[in-house]
């Protein structure tokens, strides 16, 4: 009697650690259980940046201001790339703010395994938390930067009367989600591929820079008549164009290409999570 009762009881294991892993094994319940840790990581990312500074979080807006000024002179004044009749300062500030979010999230998530090997080697928690925390902390920085953008936007709307947002502005939260998912997905794929073979890491840094020129950050799509399709094939293009169309009321918008971006993002996110899932269990042996 006792033995049978015991054997029934011993079958109820909480955790079984074994070498075989399912290809698709997303443990969302576990992620939820660790939500406090996620928030802690986010807090750490934000707080540590401006520790021991006097201006604190204000430093987050310095970066977009500086790059906007540089772009204004180089691409606006010297190269005269044009901005679809949108005031140049506003044009560069908007797309720069978005681009900074995308590139920083991609850069940090693509180094998840390499940068956190010392923590990963000592303690278990769902590894996906770290790239997720980067996505969220980047988003908080983005919101701080958007305050500046909104102020400048209001100035151009009500004082200068030079731009007029349209109803597509309401797509903005959706655009943010798309961009967050895309940078997260690409980042996790890259970090998973670079745990054993580091070759890819060399490509990432300048690959992200090149990607900026393939994305309508410093120019409007309408500038390049011949390469239209090529530029739209970049899934980021429709995000940036929809953003500009909604906020400035100028530029190009296409439901078709936005749908393409959604499809692209969903696919890469699934691929990213599958790859990450397969690597996270053993990467510590090879990183």
């Amino acid at each position: 009697m006792n033995t049978s009762a015991a054997s029934v009881e011993t079958d109820k294991w909480d955790v079984v650690i074994s070498p075989k892993s399912k290809v698709i094994n997303f443990n969302f319940a576990e992620l939820w259980k660790y939500r406090d840790l996620l928030m802690m990581f986010v807090r750490k990312d934000i707080v540590t940046v401006y520790k021991q500074t006097i201006l604190g979080p204000i430093w987050f807006v310095v970066q977009p201001i500086m790059t906007t000024m540089i772009y204004y002179f180089i691409f606006g004044r010297v190269a005269k790339l044009g901005t679809d009749n949108v005031p140049a300062i506003l044009f560069y500030l908007g797309s720069n703010t978005l681009w900074l979010y995308f590139s920083e999230t991609l850069n940090t998530t693509s180094k998840t395994f390499a940068d956190n090997a010392s923590i990963f080697g000592k303690v278990y928690f769902p590894r996906l938390l770290l790239p997720l925390s980067k996505v969220i902390s980047g988003m908080i920085k983005l919101f701080i930067q958007l305050i500046l953008f909104v102020l400048v936007l209001l100035y151009y709307i009500f004082v200068r009367h030079s731009v007029m947002p349209n109803q597509f502005i309401f797509l903005f939260p959706f655009l943010l989600v798309l961009m967050a998912a895309l940078s997260f997905a690409l980042g996790t794929i890259i970090t998973s591929m670079t745990t054993k073979y580091r070759d890819m890491t060399f490509l990432v840094t300048f690959g992200v820079q090149l990607l900026m020129y393939a994305t309508p950050v410093i120019y409007p799509v309408s500038k390049f008549k011949e390469y239209q399709t090529l530029i739209w094939l970049n899934p980021l293009t429709s995000i940036f164009e929809t953003f500009k169309y909604g906020f400035y009321g100028k530029g190009s918008f296409s439901w078709g290409w936005l749908g393409y971006t959604v499809l692209f993002t969903v696919t890469t996110t699934i691929v990213g999570m599958v790859v990450f899932n397969n690597v996270e269990k053993k990467f510590i042996d090879t990183v």
């Binding site: 015991a6 009881e9 011993t10 109820k12 294991w13 909480d14 955790v15 079984v16 650690i17 074994s18 070498p19 892993s21 660790y34 406090d36 840790l37 928030m39 802690m40 990581f41 807090r43 750490k44 707080v47 540590t48 520790k51 021991q52 010392s118 923590i119 990963f120 080697g121 000592k122 303690v123 278990y124 928690f125 054993k196 073979y197 269990k281 053993k282 510590i284 042996d285 090879t286």
Partner: protein, 417 residues
């Protein structure tokens, strides 16, 4: 009534030696191809046993091989073994840092593992912020940490500094805080790897007390890896001895420690801790010392070589240890007014004579300490020196086994050259 909380079956872990290179890519490809065809990993078959001192041509090694054991609820299991025996690999697998190559582990309850103190501590964050971050990394929720925060700070004894970034902490304060967080983890199973070797004597004592508390009063299961056999024997009730990636013995802790100390590999190496110009050569009459009688005078010839040192008034200390690594005989040359001079490029031959040693049967090890003033010139330990055999009933009448007392029997030290 106890129940099994950890059950480990045929656990194995294969590691590749050498560097990651294009060759690794070929191996990866072969492995993938074997998997596609539904065959076994081709490199798993050729892995050799993990003996770090023997050079092999094999590129793969089993850090753990067919490890089977189980842990009952409330057990405090001490895992011992020499360096590279697979203890840490085992803990890594248990804490899910990496996954096994073969076999499986079944666990009941929440595991908190502490393979290092202060994992994830960020130097810029304050003590308080780090307590929350570190606690969360170890698996606590925010509310749990909030509830225990005062206790943690109190245990660590850093209340004054709690709002200061940890980069300003002394290293001792840093580890105190880190250990305190871990000590208050609420988990059914606790895994510890050599973490007691932190802090000052007072804090170590506190940690030991806390560990004993966790184990004996709270009824939690603890797995503890340490080279500090005293700590292991104090805290644990069961032991697991690992040798070259395999479980060599498991059972009550005293028995396991005994096996470990009597094991061939544990005492085979001489540890040279310090050498400032005097080389340790050996004991020329070692062969005559393998069969001493309990009350015989023991005369040990000691051979040294001075490389580059001209000093006068050099002292020498001899300490004799038994198999349990307890210091049983202590002799200092200053007590009998013996000093000697060293000249570069000359050998020194000494004879150390223990008159009426009064030692129990067993193997004895010598530790030699040469110094001038406070300057240690040579410190060498774990030298196999002599065996005492007692083959009749009367000869074995002295039982010093397990007694920590140091005896100072009369001795002489003389120089022969």
């Amino acid at each position: 009534m106890s129940s099994t909380v950890i059950d480990i079956e045929n656990l194995s872990k294969l590691y590749r030696l050498g560097q990651v290179s294009s060759k690794t890519l070929t191996h990866d490809f072969n492995r993938w191809f074997a998997k596609v065809r539904g065959k076994e990993d081709p490199y798993a078959k050729i892995g050799t046993e993990n003996d770090r001192s023997v050079k092999t041509s094999d590129e793969y090694v089993w850090a753990l091989q067919d490890v089977c054991f189980n842990v009952q609820q409330g057990d405090v299991l001490g895992i011992i073994g020499s360096n590279g025996a697979g203890k840490s690999t085992l803990l890594k697998l248990l804490s899910r840092v990496t996954s096994p190559s073969k076999g499986n582990i079944k666990v009941k309850g929440r595991i908190a593992s502490l393979l290092e103190v202060g994992t994830g501590f960020h130097p810029e964050l304050t003590g308080k912020e780090n307590v929350f971050l570190n606690g969360a990394i170890l698996g606590m929720t925010k509310n749990e940490i909030k509830r225990k925060f005062d206790e943690i700070v109190d245990f660590a004894g850093v209340a004054k500094y709690i709002e200061t970034p940890v980069k300003r902490y002394s290293s001792g304060m840093y580890v105190r805080l880190a250990f305190a967080v871990a000590a208050y983890l609420e988990s059914e199973i606790l895994i510890l790897d050599e973490v007691l070797a932190v802090g000052d004597a007072e804090f170590q004592k506190k940690c030991m007390g806390k560990m004993g508390d966790v184990a004996h009063n709270e009824g939690r299961t603890v797995l503890f890896v340490s080279h500090n056999l005293f700590a292991v024997s104090e805290i644990c009730n069961k032991g697991l001895l690992m040798v070259n990636g395999r479980v060599s013995h498991s059972g009550p802790i005293a028995q396991t420690i005994d096996k470990y100390l009597k094991g061939g590999t544990s005492h085979s190496e001489i540890y040279l801790i310090k050498n400032k110009g005097i080389d340790w050569i050996g004991i020329p009459n070692r062969d005559n010392l393998t069969n001493c009688k309990p009350n015989d005078e023991i005369s040990i010839d000691v051979s040294l070589f001075v490389k580059n040192l001209n000093m006068s008034g050099v002292f020498i200390d001899f300490n004799v240890f038994n198999e349990n690594n307890e210091n049983v005989v202590h002799s200092r040359s200053n007590w009998i007014g013996f000093t000697f001079d060293t000249k570069s490029n000359t050998p020194i031959n000494l004879t150390y004579k223990i008159i009426a040693p009064q030692l129990a049967a067993g193997k004895y090890f010598l530790s030699v300490n040469i110094y001038q003033g406070n300057d240690v010139l040579l410190y060498v330990t774990n030298i196999e020196a002599f065996n005492i055999n007692a083959n009749n009933y009367f000869g074995s009448s002295i039982f010093l086994d397990g007694v920590n007392a140091i005896t100072v029997p009369p001795f002489t030290i003389s120089r022969n050259n």
